[in-house]
Amino acid sequence: MPIYIQLKQFDGPLDLLLHLIGRAKIDIKDIFVHEITEQFIAAVSSAPDFDMEEASEFIAMAALLVEIKSRSLLPKQQAEDEEDPEQLLIDRLTAYRQFKESTANMAEFEKSARQTFGKLPEEIPLPPPTLEIDGLTIEMLWEALLRLAEREPRERHEADLSLRDIRRDHYTVENCIRSIREHLKKGPVPFDELFGGKPSRQEAVTLFIALLELLKRGKAHVSQSKTFDRIILHPGRRKHSGNP
């Protein structure tokens, strides 16, 4: 009797085999006693929706069935330790049927769980995230300072910037500008005379920036007769003599 089967209905060859076994009302272990193999091959080869991609598993199974069947016709020549492919297939089918049956139980659980309802989450405007910092203690700060102190001292240019005190900058650009302009009121002044006896690096840098600022604002200009000669600072903008 020909069997028309749509392969798509089945979740693979094991599923189809179980279907055929079920329909024949036989036990899984009698699969090769019955005509299941023939029915399976007929079903696969006559399938109208034969899609190579999906059918490859069915074809592989058909090949296995044929192999098992043909082996049974030959005298036994199987090694002791070799597993019997027929028994392997029967075991696989049995295990698969177990899981397949278990899905009925699971579907029951699913069904009753569907009788309970949750609630949609509320929409809540959230404040900005808060941050907490672990292990930040005054002791840890101290330890960090002590580590720094123990480290090999590097050359320090500005001893006035000690960790001992929190001190404002001694020299600000604004103050320096004021002091340069005081000097300039008396007329041109050599640049190096702007500094005190031993200017600190900070003083020198700040004065120099103040000077650049004055030049930019046009409140002063400089002259130098030759390279490395003294730089003379003059009040006011440079008067252009017309020379390019």
Partner: protein
């Protein structure tokens, strides 16, 4: 924090979030230990179960959720369109069954049982949050291992994976009762 107070706070949290909330996150928010959060949750659960109520506190693995009791589903459905859990296809259910009973398993383990490729159904279960990746098996190719999630428990309404009924018996041949009638 007193346990009564913790109960109330948990109740409020579960109500607002609607979804299942992890016990660890609750403990963190209330600044109590997970053990304390657990016993408060237990107390709250008992309180809800003590008198028959329209809603209950359910525990799914490490998650807690507030939800309606099944008996009142018809009334709820008559008035509202509650969000329904989607039921799974047979293929997805088979793959899920293999994962649930044999976890952790690799894709090949599942395909060995089902006799078909399972990439697609595994991916769809991952997307639904019913299974998760729990590492790799240290064999050739280091394949991923899959296990069920707390959301799996929620989907099937069970508190613990051990509540799944045992697999159906292997042996009895059922002459008169064909599997697929």
């Amino acid at each position: 924090m007193e346990i009564r107070e913790a109960c109330r706070a948990i109740e409020a949290i579960l109500f607002v979030s609607g979804d299942a909330v992890e016990i660890r996150d609750i403990a963190q928010a209330l600044e109590i230990t997970e053990m304390e959060a657990l016993s408060a949750a237990d107390a709250l659960q008992k309180e809800y179960d003590g008198v028959p109520r329209g809603i209950r506190v359910s525990r799914y693995g490490e998650h807690l959720k507030l939800e309606t009791r099944a008996e009142y589903a018809p009334y709820v459905e008559r008035l509202l369109q509650p969000v329904q859990r989607q039921s799974l296809s047979q293929a997805a259910m088979e793959t899920l069954a293999v994962i649930a009973y044999r976890q952790p398993v690799t894709r090949l383990d599942i395909e060995e049982v089902r006799g078909v490729k399972c990439d697609y159904s595994i991916q769809s279960l991952l997307n639904k949050g019913l299974v998760k990746n729990v590492g790799r098996r240290e064999t050739l190719g280091r394949p991923y291992l899959y296990a069920t999630t707390d959301f799996f428990l929620e989907h099937f309404g069970i508190a613990d994976i051990r509540e799944l009924p045992p697999l159906p018996e292997m042996d009895p041949p059922q002459e008169e009762e064909p599997l697929i009638p």
